[in-house]
């Protein structure tokens, strides 16, 4: 098991590489002015590893307390890239939190028929 932690301001992203998947756990608040500068390189690296290792990407937002709207952009770009490619991406969110339910259920427009790209409220 291999875990790397990345921190920017109040946001922490932990990338844990497992045998079948790469788990990306988001904690804290994403409030930077240009969050993509921090997030995009992490997600790009995860995407590359997912392709080369044929591993599913799990983006777990359940411990996230807040994200500003600029944070949604890099997340959408990953989903769109996954949709057009062959990799598997699952987003996990806490459906008991209204703000998470509203934000992440809207991303269901990116779900593929075969659920290769999937959004799950837990």
């Amino acid at each position: 098991m291999n875990t790397k932690q990345f921190v920017s301001n109040l946001l922490e992203i932990a990338v844990e590489e497992k045998s079948e998947s790469i788990n990306v756990c988001w904690t804290g608040k994403s409030i930077d002015r240009n969050p993509g500068k921090f997030i995009t390189p992490i997600l790009a690296s995860v995407l590359d590893k997912s392709v080369s290792g044929k591993k599913e990407i799990i983006l777990d937002f359940r411990k996230l307390a807040y994200l500003n709207s600029s944070t949604i952009t890099p997340i959408i770009k990953v989903l769109e890239r996954a949709k057009r490619g062959t990799i598997r991406v699952t987003i996990l969110y806490d459906k008991s939190l209204k703000w998470q339910e509203l934000n992440f259920s809207a991303l269901e427009i990116f779900i593929t028929e075969d659920k290769r790209v999937n959004i799950e409220g837990l």
Binding site: L10, K29, I31, D32, R33, N34, G36, K37, T40, A44, Y66, N68, S69, S70, I72, T73, P74, I76, K77, L79, E80, R81, L97, K98, W99, L102, N103, A106, L107, I109, F110
Partner: protein
Amino acid sequence: MQKSIHLKLKPDWKEIEPIRLESSKFLEGHRFSTDTVNALTMIVSELIENAIKYGFFVQPEGQVSVNIQVGRKVITVEVSNPVDSSTYNNLKKLDRTIQWIRGYQDPFEAYLDKLKEIAKKPIADEESGLGLVRIAYEGRGIIDFFVSEDGLLSVSVISSFFEREAGR
């Protein structure tokens, strides 16, 4: 209980989080549900972010001001910042965005269309343009703005996201 709160901040990104916390505390004091506090704090944050990004802050006293007013049926959030002729294009864009949102019967549809639009943009394009439509959708907010004669832009949101804890 205090019906409104008036806060001021410098146009510095680091000042947003303390204002977020202070706004949350004020709203929690009114015994709104956590979901309502989160939604309204999001509105405050997104409006301040826009004010700092697109305001005109040359004078040393240039500030962003935040007003939250709790009414009987709605909550109004108003964020003001100085503007000048150099920010005219931003005002036009603000006007267009508000009109665009109003063109939808359901702001959820506007939000989805914006997500689809963002998805088509190149990875390097970091601008989301989601803030206002997120306010309309997630915060159930009706957005409006006006510019005063002395060059102060005020963007107001009337939100009906209004769930109080039982027994209030």
